[in-house]
Every structure is written in C-alpha cells, then in structure tokens.
C-alpha cells in the first residue's frame, strides 16, 4: 500500500522540482515579465542613457503589427498543416507495412527507417542542402538529364523541401511508436476476425487503426509542437536559398530580434506568442479528438 507520507515524497520530488522551477517555470514567468517592458532612451538624441520602462502590451502589439513576424507565424501554421499529415500518414503506412504477414526483412527495414532520427537536424539539413543545390546534387543532375528541371530552393518549393527534411528525420521515430502499439494488440483478435471472414483491409480498418489511435494522437501532438519550433532547417538552407529571410519562422524572428537587433523585450513577446500558439494548437487538437476518444 502507498505510504501517506508527504515528507518522503517531497524528498524524492525536490531535485526535479527545483530544476523544473528554475529552468521551466521561471523562464516562462521571466519572458512574460520582460515582454511587458521596453527600453526608453533619455536625454537629447537618446544619448542620456537607457531606462527600462513598463510598456503594457506594446511589445505584443508591435510584434503583431510587424508583417515579418505575422507572416512567419502564418508560415509555420501552413508548414504544420502540410507536415503533420505527411508525417503521420507516412509513419502509419510504414508501420502497417512492417506489421503485415507479407513483410520480409523487417529488422533491416525498421532500422533503416529509424536511422535518421540519430542525425541532428542541422546535419540533416546540411546533407539535404547538398542534395538540393544544382551542380552538387546527384538528384537535380539526374532529373535534368531526363528533362525535368526542379528548383528545390525556389520560393514555391523551399517550404516543401523543408517538409522533406523534417519528414526524413522523424518519420522513423513516429513509425516506431506506432509499431510498438501495433505489437501490443492481441493477435487472437486477428484470428477471430479472419474466422469471421474479414479481409486484410478490414482488419486494418476496424482493428489496427482504432487500436493505434492513442499512439497516433501522441505522435500528432509532438509533431505539431515540433513543427512550430522550426528553426535549424531553414537557417541552414538560408545561404543557398534566396527565398528564406531572416524572419522565415517565429523562432528565427525572435532569435534575430534578440541577437541582431538587441531587442530582448520584443523577442520575449514573440517567444510568448509562439508558446501560446503551440499550446492552443496542441490542446485544440486534443480537444477535437477527445470527444468519445481515449481520455486520460
């Protein structure tokens, strides 16, 4: 039986609790605090020195009035709208294929799909960058030879090229989560269904998909949160693509605001806005699918 012992529990929770408070809760509070202030220069021509003054929601208004930042928010939302379905459907197809009776070489394929998860995003982006740049890329070269001319780094395509990099990195991980859940299904269910005359497709549709639902929900939420943080991939592609500005994503905009323009207060407001969008979208999604579904 559990011991009703708050003091012992506190002892076990203390190390994590202190770190969580210092490096998770405090930064959030600090960002909100910082976002409510601004730097004002005093004296003639602003030479009299700097002073931190309360600004209310001015920084938020500034951030939302700056077309660059609003565009970047819109861009990652569009990016997420493409990335999330691509990621989940691809991972699901791979997981289902690996778990069919017809599959062969399963350990090899599973490992091959999972490998990119071990490659840091920046290195994956450098790699794919070489595969996108005409002149170096064997892919662009091969397509040219058969008369297909693609510009992976153009204004219309570069976002899709980033989708490809992120997909390459994380599909294997999401696939593994789904495979793990598929393997926890009682195989007798399939036998029973088969006896009842269910086809392979029926088993997928009526047994496998409903049973992996919690894993699909989990991977979707993590993918939503991950896509909104988009930073490394476009940053690495920026030197080779003229279509990527320094405000391409909210994270790039906030980083730029803080370290190029030294406007930490505006950057803090942008960081808070990004966190808000991430929470609204992920909780919104949970809400949406929560009706009648698996609830905690």
């Amino acid at each position: 039986m559990r011991r009703h012992d708050a003091r012992t529990a506190a002892g076990f929770l203390a190390p994590f609790g202190i770190l969580f408070a210092l490096f998770f809760l405090l930064p959030i509070v600090y960002a909100i605090y910082q976002s409510l202030f601004t730097i004002e220069r005093t004296g003639a021509l602003g030479l009299g020195g700097e002073e931190q003054v309360f600004a209310g929601f001015d920084n938020y208004v500034d951030a939302l009035q700056e077309p660059g930042f609003v565009d970047s928010l819109g861009r990652v939302v569009v990016f997420a709208a493409i990335q999330v379905p691509v990621m989940i459907v691809f991972a699901l197809v791979l997981a289902l294929l690996l778990e069919t009776a017809s599959a062969r070489g399963v350990p090899f394929f599973r490992t091959a799909y999972f490998l990119p998860f071990g490659v840091p995003g920046v290195i994956a982006s450098i790699l794919w960058g070489f595969l996108y740049v005409p002149g170096v890329s064997p892919i662009v070269g091969a397509l040219d030879q058969v008369g297909i001319h693609v510009d992976f780094l153009g204004g219309d395509t570069v976002l899709l090229s980033i989708v490809n990099i992120v997909t390459w990195e994380f599909v294997g991980y999401n696939m593994l989560v789904l495979v793990a859940q598929l393997q926890s299904i009682d195989p007798n269910l399939y036998e029973a269904a088969r006896v009842d005359g269910a086809s392979g497709w029926h088993i997928v549709r009526h047994i496998k998909l409903p049973m992996v639902r919690p894993a699909i929900v989990l991977t979707t939420v993590f993918t939503i949160i991950g896509t909104l943080q988009l930073f490394a991939e476009p940053l690495i592609l920026k030197p080779v693509s003229t279509s990527i500005s320094s405000h391409y994503t909210p994270n790039m905009a906030a980083y730029n605001e803080a370290f190029s323009n030294n406007n930490y207060h505006l950057a803090a407001a942008e960081a808070v806005l990004l966190a808000l969008v991430a929470m609204v979208l992920s909780f919104g999604f949970l809400r949406l699918i929560g009706r009648g579904g698996d609830r905690r």
Partner: protein
C-alpha cells in the same frame, strides 16, 4: 491516467512474438505472392529514401573539395577518406575533437543526471500519496507541451544575469529537466515496482532512499535506459539552446561547431569538405548506437504511447 488502468509494462526483453503465429506456412497462393511483392517493394523504396542521404555522405566524405563539386555524387572518385578525416581532426588545432568531447559531456552528463532525477520524481509520484499530487503531476505534464525553443531566450537572459551564460552549465543545466522522463517513470514505477516488496524492505529497516536506490531503481532499469537514450539523442541533436547560450567556440557541441564551418564555407571553400567529413564522423557512432540499442527504444516507446 489512473493507476488501475496501467497494465504490467513490457520489459526490455523482446515480447513474445505474435507475428510468428501469423507466419505459419500457408499455401503460397498467387494472391499472397502478389501481396508479398507489393509489400516488400514498398518497404524497399522507402529504405532507398532513408538511406540515400546516408550513402551520399559516405561517398562525399571520401572526396576532395574539387571532386565534391566536380563529380557525380553517387559514385566514388579518387577516394581519400583517411586524408579527409585527418584534415577534419587536425583543422584549427583539433577543435573538432574538442567539440566531440563537449557533445559527449553535454549529452552524456545531461542524460545521466536527467534520468536519475526523473526516476526519483517519478517514483515519488507513483509510490507516495500527498495532497495535490495530481496537480503537481499535471503541471509537470504541461511542461511537455511547452516548446523548448520558447524557453531558450528567457533562459539566456536569466543566466546572463548570474554570469552563467556562455559556460558549460548554461547548456547542461536546462538539459537535465525532462518532464517526459518523469511521466514515463511514474507510469513504469506504478506498474512494475510491487508495493509488497517496498513494504518488506521497510520492515527490514531500510531507509526510503536506500529502498529506492537498491530495490526500485533496479526494477525500473528498462524505463531508465529508454529515458537516457531519448535525452541523450535530444541533447546531442539540440542546436537552438547551445546557439543561444554559447559564444566561445571552445564550448561548442558538434552541431554548433559544424554549422560554424558550414557558414564560413562560402568564403573558404575547403570548409565544405571539412563540414561533410565532420558530419560523416559525427553521424557514424550515433547510427551504430541506434542499431545496437534498438530494442530499448521500442520497449520504452510502448510505455509512452499505450498508456498516453
């Protein structure tokens, strides 16, 4: 996630394979043969997609700067892998090795402490009742939803104030916090660590921490390995946090170091080859680790999703 609904967690041992049952020899008919060709064909095409960039970097790492741009990326040309590797390891007085060591310190040290701290908290939440326990747990869970990059900027400002920015600590300390680890540990401890065993140890007069360290930790090992791996890869692959925190190249992890070479390559073309070679060297050990440790990934992932 009430504890009663948690089924016994699978261990790291491979679960009994239900698939074997389905593989029992059936009469090979035309339709099973056709579906096998389709399935394996699909799997193979996907494998090409995932392995092509890996193959490309293997080939590219053997080339000179000239051949990197002048020859087909899909086949070797005047392979000189060892020369290239030597260049990578000796450039700028061997700073690459320093970056590797830094990455090992950040990822290894951070993941180790994160795992231990998460295990304590998860165990505490699973095995002791106190007022507001669920509220505490939900607060920690909410942490999973906060984008880490949104925390990095305010963290930098905070750590600058106490003069900890641009130190090892600035990357190491934030990496220790793993809400997901606490979540996994709580579920695993609740399901796998028997209360009777703890009670027996108490009757023997063992202290609470001692019981945790000698009894509970051992039972929780499969979950701990999973958390360690997740955290290790997460920290190793992290870019935004060190980018924000560090300005001294001697403190850079590999991700940041290689990117700094890549950024300068426009002006100094031989850096392209160094970037490619350095990326190759950094990717290989991690890939080997992914393959060798795969069964641990799966066991822990089931934990995370099935009960989510």
């Amino acid at each position: 996630m009430t504890d009663t609904r948690v089924s016994p967690p699978p261990t790291s041992e491979a679960p009994p394979k239900p698939r074997e049952v389905r593989h029992e020899p059936r009469r090979p008919t035309d339709s099973t043969l056709r579906s096998r060709v389709l399935v394996v064909g699909g799997l193979a095409i996907a494998a090409v997609y995932f392995l092509l960039p890996v193959y490309w970097i293997l080939v590219a790492a053997t080339k000179s700067t000239g051949d990197l741009f002048g020859t087909s990326g899909l086949w070797f040309a005047n392979p000189r892998l060892l020369d290239n590797l030597e260049n990578v390891l000796t450039f700028q007085d061997g700073i690459y090795l320093r970056w590797t060591l830094n990455s090992v310190i950040y990822a290894g040290g951070g993941a180790l402490i994160a795992t231990f701290v998460s295990a304590m908290a998860g165990y505490g939440l699973a095995k002791f009742w106190f007022r507001g326990r669920e509220a505490v747990f939900n607060l920690i869970l909410a942490g999973v939803f906060i984008p880490m990059t949104a925390l990095a900027l305010p963290l930098y400002l905070m750590l600058s104030k106490v003069e900890l920015a641009n130190t090892y600590w600035s990357v190491l300390l934030p990496s220790i916090v793993s809400p997901f680890g606490v979540y996994l540990c709580r579920i695993y401890a609740a399901a796998a660590v028997p209360d009777d065993l703890l009670e027996a140890a108490r009757i023997d007069g063992a202290g609470e921490f001692r019981i945790f360290a000698t009894v509970a930790l051992r039972i929780m090992t499969p979950a701990l390995v999973t958390i360690f791996l997740f955290q290790f890869v997460g920290i190793w692959n992290n870019y935004f946090l060190p980018l924000v925190m560090l300005s001294d190249p001697n403190l850079y992890p590999i991700t940041l170091g290689l990117t700094s070479w890549y950024t300068f390559a426009g002006r100094q073309p031989e850096l392209y080859q160094l970037t490619v070679g350095g990326a190759f060297v950094s990717v290989v050990p991690l890939m080997i680790a992914m393959v060798v440790l795969q069964r641990f990934w799966r066991s822990g992932l089931t934990q995370g999703s099935v009960k989510g």
